[in-house]
Symmetry: C2
DNA sequence: AAAATCGCCGGTATCGTTCCCGGAAAGACG
DNA sequence: CGTCTTTCCGGGAACGATACCGGCGATTTT
């Protein structure tokens, strides 16, 4: 156990190998003017001596620190944790490491994190910006990639998100295929960017299918369990027409809706059908299991890192990447496709 | 928007302020031989010019990078994500930043992450070691603090964990207070260190209460939903004595047990009572809500960083810190304390 | 055969910061 | 007034690595 207190440097290796430090640097870099024989010899000596490259010094001289930044709302949120994991894995494959920061949807914190990243001389960053806080990003001065929503304001940067339009299509088609022709839409609060995107996707899909978007009933609430619970209570009050179907814009709201239904003595999926959106792990443990549309969180993280590398390499196409979502069927949606046609027509005609 | 492509250096600030770079360094450091007047002036110039300290260079020259490492099994696991969040917050308060790595319970990956941390010249690290992989840690060569379990093998390093003994006491006392005198113990697999600690705590508590530990029935399985489900099926097969109570060593297992009970047509909490251990968020959304013992994950993260700072400052007492757990009552535990005494006695006498 | 090219390597400057040393100015004291 | 501290600041040497330049043989070109 005689590990040297002070780590070895490149000149130590050079002395041990009987070459100059330039040669050692070339051997380590792997691409310089060096013969295969000496490279092997040098690397062998370096390994045997337990040399480990000082990435601080490398970053300082070469201008590339090998560090990447990730600024997300909250690492303790399961969705963002998945994103972080994907980014982490991809960064590691490329030999860089990730510095993760949680902004808690707070402008000041976000600005502070961006400053920290600049001081750490990260090569670039992946950011999910707090709504309306684009000034700090504009003066960030380093390459970055957006993740999540709200990419509209940055025409010159690339971004990675989930394909909301495709997800909504998937959800509505599934609802219809199970015999739910007029589902309630449970939306988030008006100031959230995600709400507008969700609603727009619904409208477009309705137009494609020759359905009047205005015919779909709506309720709204916070993107939380409590918000979904409250919204569901209002829905159950307004809708007395037998089976109630709900398409929630968020899994937590969907879970809340499930709880509200139970409180009201309604059984899911017999009396109430619920479709969620996100794919949080908790949805698998509820009863019944939450049928939902899963966002590709981990893949988004991976892809964002790849986009950032493109940006860094100068071969940036500034594209928007929208990754497809996946339907996860569990048990919260009743199959009503076998009902007599008359019943379906009656439901469609009913006014809540 | 004319941000300089190349960031300013300390000599730029020196030129702007009309002093030497040493003086600027002193002003920035905040404690050197410098008059209050010049410090103010220099800082003002630095701020106005948008100077930002290069932490790479600082780390290189001073030997302290301001970087901390955190190696955990999986950042996408809600428990570890909470730990990471706590560590992150505390590190930020102290002006350092955290590099997080997921080992996936894999020896090779863990070793690789430790190497990366050494190359990044982190000041120290917080590690939840993969079982039996202590060699890599021993040759890590940098200050570190253990988090989670398995601290026994490192008498010379401090560690932070949850107080399993107190948690088990809390759980067993609560079970008894609700009239569950002989709960099943649902344990993890034999090779996991946590299992032994849990079992030891149970034994100690039983001895204190003059109960024969061997009288408590047990089942075991993987620390997963599927593992808990399988274990619960075996329990229900073996125990035909009316109400079945289970103390699971892990929330995921508890959730699995709940699902198995439902499959078997048993109602929770009327026919079956379940107590979990961990405090994962999903437990709040199950039906019924999972009564559980919550580990102070975020506090553990914070505390681990503080211990690491102590270690770095040389004032390490190499202590073991065990943070208390908290009982969270939801609905998975029936209150049977009001039953006639005869029934309770009969239950205690019954053989599964 | 002289000149140009090429592969491979060593020496030196440099990245941005901190640390140490020495010196100038200012105050203290006999 | 001379000397001795004390306070404050500037100059240079590191830290560990890479970038660049130039040199030396060996090979190729004209």
């Amino acid at each position: 156990m005689k590990r040297a207190a002070r780590p070895l440097t490149i000149v130590d290796v050079a002395r041990l190998a009987g070459v100059s430090k330039s040669t050692v640097a070339r051997a380590l870099a792997g691409d310089g003017d060096i013969s295969e024989a000496t490279r092997e010899a040098v690397l062998k000596v370096a390994r045997a001596a337990g040399y480990e490259r000082n990435r601080l010094a490398v970053g300082m001289r070469s201008g590339r620190s090998g560090l990447l930044g990730l600024v997300i709302p909250d690492i303790a949120n399961p969705f963002w944790a998945e994103v972080a994991r994907g980014a982490q894995d991809r960064a590691q494959e490329a030999g860089s490491s990730l510095m993760i920061f949680s902004s808690d949807w707070d402008h000041g914190l976000e600005a502070q994190h961006l400053r920290t990243l600049r001081q750490a001389r990260v090569d670039g960053a992946i950011v999910n910006p707090v709504a309306d806080n684009f000034d700090d990003l504009h003066r960030f001065g380093l390459p970055f990639v957006l993740i999540g929503s709200s990419a509209e304001r940055f025409p010159e940067t690339s971004s990675v998100g989930s394909d909301i339009a495709q997800a909504v299509r998937l959800g509505l088609d599934h609802l219809v295929s199970k015999g739910h022709f007029r589902p309630w839409l449970m939306l988030g609060p008006r100031w959230r960017i995600a709400r507008a995107r969700f609603l727009r996707a619904v409208t477009e899909h309705c137009v494609e299918r020759d359905v009047d978007p205005a015919s779909l009933p709506m309720e709204e609430g916070e993107y939380t369990v409590a918000g979904g619970q409250a919204a569901m209570r209002r829905i159950l009050e307004r809708d007395r027409s037998g089976h109630v179907s709900v398409f929630a814009a968020n899994d937590l709201m969907a879970l809340g809706a499930m709880m509200a239904a139970r409180e009201a003595g309604r059984n899911c999926p017999d009396d109430v059908s619920i479709l969620g959106f996100d794919g949080v792990p908790a949805g698998a443990f509820s009863w019944p299991g939450l049928t939902t549309i899963e966002k590709p969180a981990r893949a988004m993280g991976r892809r964002a890192v790849e986009c950032l590398f493109d940006e860094l390499a100068g071969r940036a196409d500034h594209g928007r990447v929208y990754l497809p979502c996946r339907l996860v069927e569990r048990g919260s949606l009743a199959d009503r496709s076998g009902r007599p046609a008359a019943a379906a027509v009656a439901e469609m005609a009913a006014q809540p």
